[in-house]
Every structure is written in C-alpha cells, then in structure tokens.
Symmetry: C2
Subunit: 328 residues, 2 copies
C-alpha cells in the first residue's frame, strides 16, 4: 500500500495523456463532464498505476471534514451499541459523520490511540469511558473539543453527561421494597467505590430500615452476570429480590436463575438498569431504569457542534419501566 | 471550530515568546524537554488562542496512518457488534487501528459517506454490508483496498468473506428433522431472493420428503422477530419447530413464544443462526449455527494488510452448537 501513495495525480494524467484537471473531474464525478473514452483511459491508468487520491491533501484543501469520533469501552455491551446508534443518529441529523472506536482491546495503549485519532482531523470527540490522568492531559494539550458521556460525575476539565445513577438505583430498590421484599441483593461491577448504583441501593435499604442484602461484584459481561446470579441462587438464605446494575448483567442473570430452577419473579424478583431494547425481549421482560439515551446523545452532539464545550455536568433523571421481572 | 483552525503553531510560538520548535516539543511531549514555566506559557497560549495542532498536515508529513475503516449496517444487532469486536481484535493484534461506521441511518447518503471516509486516509476498508452499483463504482474509482465480509456470495470486483449460509441453514433444518419434526417453519428476512438461508431450509425439507412449512418474513430487528413469532404462535395448525435466520430474531422470538404460553422446545423447537454470545444467555439457551467470526475477521485484516486483495470469495463452513432450545 505504501507504493500506491507515491503515485500522484500527475502520474495518472501523464499516463492517460490528459491534464491533471481531467483526472480530477473523473475521480470526483465533476464539476466538468469527461467523454466516456477519456474517462475509461483515466480509470485504466488509475487501476494500472495503483493510484489512490491523496485524501489527506484533499482534506487539507477542503478544510472542515465534519467528522466526530466516539470512543466506547466495549461495543458488545448492548447499552453501548445503543448509545453509539443514538449518537450516530444525532450526528447524522446535524450533517456530521460519526466514526466509532472500541477501546477495550487496547486499553493500555489508549493515549497513543487518542493521538492517532486526533491526527485523523476529527472535529470533536464523544468519549463514553473514564479517562486516565495521562489521557486527560493529552486531550487538554491537543485542544480537541470533547464531551464525556456515560459519566458518574462531572470532570474538572471537560463537559460531562450522565444519568443520576444514585437516584436511579435508589428508585429501583425502593420499587422492590414497595412490593414487599425484605431481602434485596445487589449485583454490580467490581469497583464499588466508583459506582453510585451500589450506594443508591444501600441508601434505599437503610432508609427503609432494612438490612443490607448481599453484594455480588461481577465483571461487566454476560459471563460475569451469569456467575454472580448462580452464586446468589445457591445461597442457603436466598434473597427474594435483586437489583442488577446493567441490562447486560441482568439478561445473563435471568438465564442463570432459570437454569437454577428459580422462577422470576416468584422466587427472585429482578429490577435492572439501562433500559436497552434487549431488556424488553428478555424472558421475563425486565423492569429496568431507563437512561434517556437519545436525549443524552443529542446534547453531546449539540455541545460539540457549538464549539469547545464548557466543563459542566449535565445529569439526566431516570424513569422506571415496569415489566414482569418484578411482578409488574 | 473554524476559527480555531486558522490559528497556527507560529501564532502560539509568538504569543508564548518561544520558538515554533518549543511549541512542538510541548505538544508532542518531546523529543526535547521544556522547562516547566515555559511549558505552562505554551499551554496557556494554546488555550487562549484556541490552537489545535493541524492534524491533517501532520498526517501528511508522517505518511502512513495505519487506520482501517469498517462499515456495518446496524451496530445494535449483536452479530454485528461481535463482528466489529473481532475485527478490532484482529486489527489491534497487527498494530492497526479500527474506526467503525454504522451505516443504516444514512443508507441513502452512502456514496457521499464513503467518499468522506476515504478522505480520512484509511489504509483499507472492511465492509459488512451489500454494495449498490454506485458504491461499487465509487470504490473502484477511489482505488482503496477493501474486503467485503458477511457476504452471501462473491463479488466481481472485491475480495469477499462469508459463511456457507445455504449449507448452514440446511444443517440447522436437518437437525430439527432428525429430532422427529415434520412441520418446520422458517423466520427470516424480507428479501428471500437474496437469502440462501431460506433456500437451505427448503432444500432440507425437500430432500426429506417433507412439505415446506410456513415462511415468516420479518424485518431484521428484535421487533421483527417478535411479531413473526407471535404470528406463528397464533396459527391454528401450528408448526412444532422453526429455523430462524439470526440470533437477534430468535431471541425476540423466544420472548414471543413464552408470552404466547408456548414451551420451548416442547411446543416449539428452535434452531437459530449466528452463534453470538447472547444466544448462550437466552432462555432457553439457543441451538444455533456458529459463524467463525474471529477467523473471518483475521482473514479480512490479513488480506487488507497484504495489499489490494484479489476478488476471490472465501467461504467458511459453519458448526452447529446444541443447546436446550431444540431439546438437546
């Protein structure tokens, strides 16, 4: 591929016996028309010489490319694939293109990866992940407009968007309390210090004067959710309800409960978190706290387009959707 | 953002009272060290002037950027999100970055979108979609290395990768026949002419001397699968088994069967297609034809890296994984 890049438009023009402008007309479908035979001669020359239009040079001469980059930690998580889809819709509606980067396979190489991205002349970045200090410093240095999304809290340097995780988790747990449950467990991520969902669950139980149920800390993956639920199912003094910190975990947990012979919600009631499409097609359908994904996506793109966003934190309230997994 | 781009490194250097080289050292973290006070002066100037390193110019001077672009029709489909993940792993293992484009929100604008992509100086494209004649002509004209993946058949112009959809569908249906089913329906996409999965299902039934069951043509989405399965569940002369053309459809169909009071597999046995992680966490877990996603992803990236790939068709055989949805 390196060889191709050394072939210039002038080479193609010379080979085809036309002017450099004619090559450009053929490759860009205009603005002037080119006779079919000449056009074919140019295309043959392009193919033969392995010419590839120098895109970088074209981008330079054209100026703005209106590309927005988005970084997500794991595209296989249905919450992130829906978030990507929503940001894509928002970008498209405003005439922008979105290029998505899955970051978890290269977590350790992230700063370099970010540098590479910026060199792609993005007009802005949407980052659905946490930033290390090194990454933060890099973005400040490169001075590229950025909005953080899927955030637990605000950042000093950047505009951030998130839901009220704490309140959402509290409402989810309160719903289980209101349905009469007294032993309510929690399945969530491995880093409780960072996760307000665990705190919201604690707060609801404490306020209701109930003891804290067991906490199962899982890897954020289907396998993680399945294992945690299996552990819960085997408890001698089993909880009757569980609040689970994501739909991905809750879908896998449902399969584990079924496999362990537990009925949902009769033996174990479930309230989940995220509100993805997949929560609706789970069996039984999941009661879940809904993130207003499209509203957050629109906000992120609007802020990027308006210019370098101020370091504020926009926090969205959540809504519960009631379905069969909690007996609703 | 347009204003930012007119600020040059020379402007920053002048404002900070340093040489242009010093600005470069600060922004690139080297190669030479810069005294903390000077460094801060440069960063202040960068922030104040809204300077953004001219990435396009940097890319030009650096040459190769080792970026691969990937276009998928709908990232929300778990098959595509797993395919993206696999291609990302393959690219990363070979030191390349992958940028992903979700195409369905801009289907009508695809040729322009492709042009924009190529202007991002990609070293190659992986396209998990079908190409219109206009798109094909454009890619030929732009002369960018491309591999098509998720393909039913070969293309005249490009290297293509796919599974043996016909044989996979036949094996899936044969499995249901071998388990004693005689009324076997099919749920698939809306365009049967293009889909060898429907033909494979027909072939298996015909070979076994069984009548063709009903065909339900659904939109490729969770909602589509749910509706088709509901229609099936309401038939007076209901089939006892169904082959479903994707895991996404089959997961939603399972929810519909449960909601309609049908037991899987006792009332309706299900064999699916794709072999995504989510098929394993469905209830009941899905018997499904597995696409060797990582092998196909590795092949695609290897071909791109080796240079402009020849227009061949690499077709992978499928493997059945037996789970509870078919009574295994």
């Amino acid at each position: 591929m390196t060889a191709q890049k050394s072939v210039t438009r002038t080479d193609v023009a010379r080979y085809a016996g036309v002017s450099s402008a004619v090559v450009s007309y053929v490759l860009n479908d205009g603005p002037k028309r080119v006779a079919p035979a000449t056009r074919q001669r140019v295309l043959d020359a392009v193919a033969l010489l392995g010419y590839r239009p120098n895109a970088t040079a074209r981008a330079l001469s054209r100026g703005k490319v209106d590309m927005i980059g988005m970084i997500v930690p794991d595209i296989r998580n249905p919450y992130f694939s829906e978030l990507v889809y929503a940001v894509d819709l928002a970008a498209h509606a405003r005439g922008r293109s979105l290029l998505v980067i899955n970051s978890d396979v290269r977590r350790s190489a992230a700063p370099n990866h970010l540098k590479g991205l910026v060199s792609q002349q993005f007009d802005g970045l949407v980052l659905a992940d946490t930033l290390s200090p090194a990454e933060t410093a890099l973005i400040v240095r490169l001075n590229i407009p950025i909005v953080l999304i899927n955030q637990f809290r605000g950042a000093e340097e950047f505009m951030s968007i998130g839901v009220d995780y704490f309140d959402g988790a509290r409402e989810a747990t309160e719903h289980l309390i209101n349905r009469g449950h007294k032993k309510i467990a929690f399945i969530g991520g491995t880093n409780p210090a960072l996760d307000p969902r665990e705190h919201g669950w604690m707060e609801a139980l404490t306020e209701a004067g109930l003891p804290l149920g067991r906490r199962y800390r899982a890897e954020f993956s289907s396998a993680g959710g399945y294992e945690a639920a299996m552990e819960l199912a085997r408890e001698p003094d089993r909880p009757t309800a569980v609040f689970i910190a994501s739909d991905q975990l809750a879908i896998a947990a449902s399969a584990a409960f079924h496999a362990a012979g537990l009925r949902i919600p009769e033996d174990i009631a479930v309230v989940s978190f995220d509100g993805t499409t997949e929560s609706k097609y789970n069996w039984p359908p999941l009661t879940t706290m809904v993130q207003p994904v499209q509203a957050m996506a629109d906000e992120a793109i609007n802020r990027l387009i308006a210019g370098t966003p101020e370091p504020t934190f926009v926090e969205y309230p959540m809504k519960i959707v009631l379905r069969a997994s909690s007996g609703d």
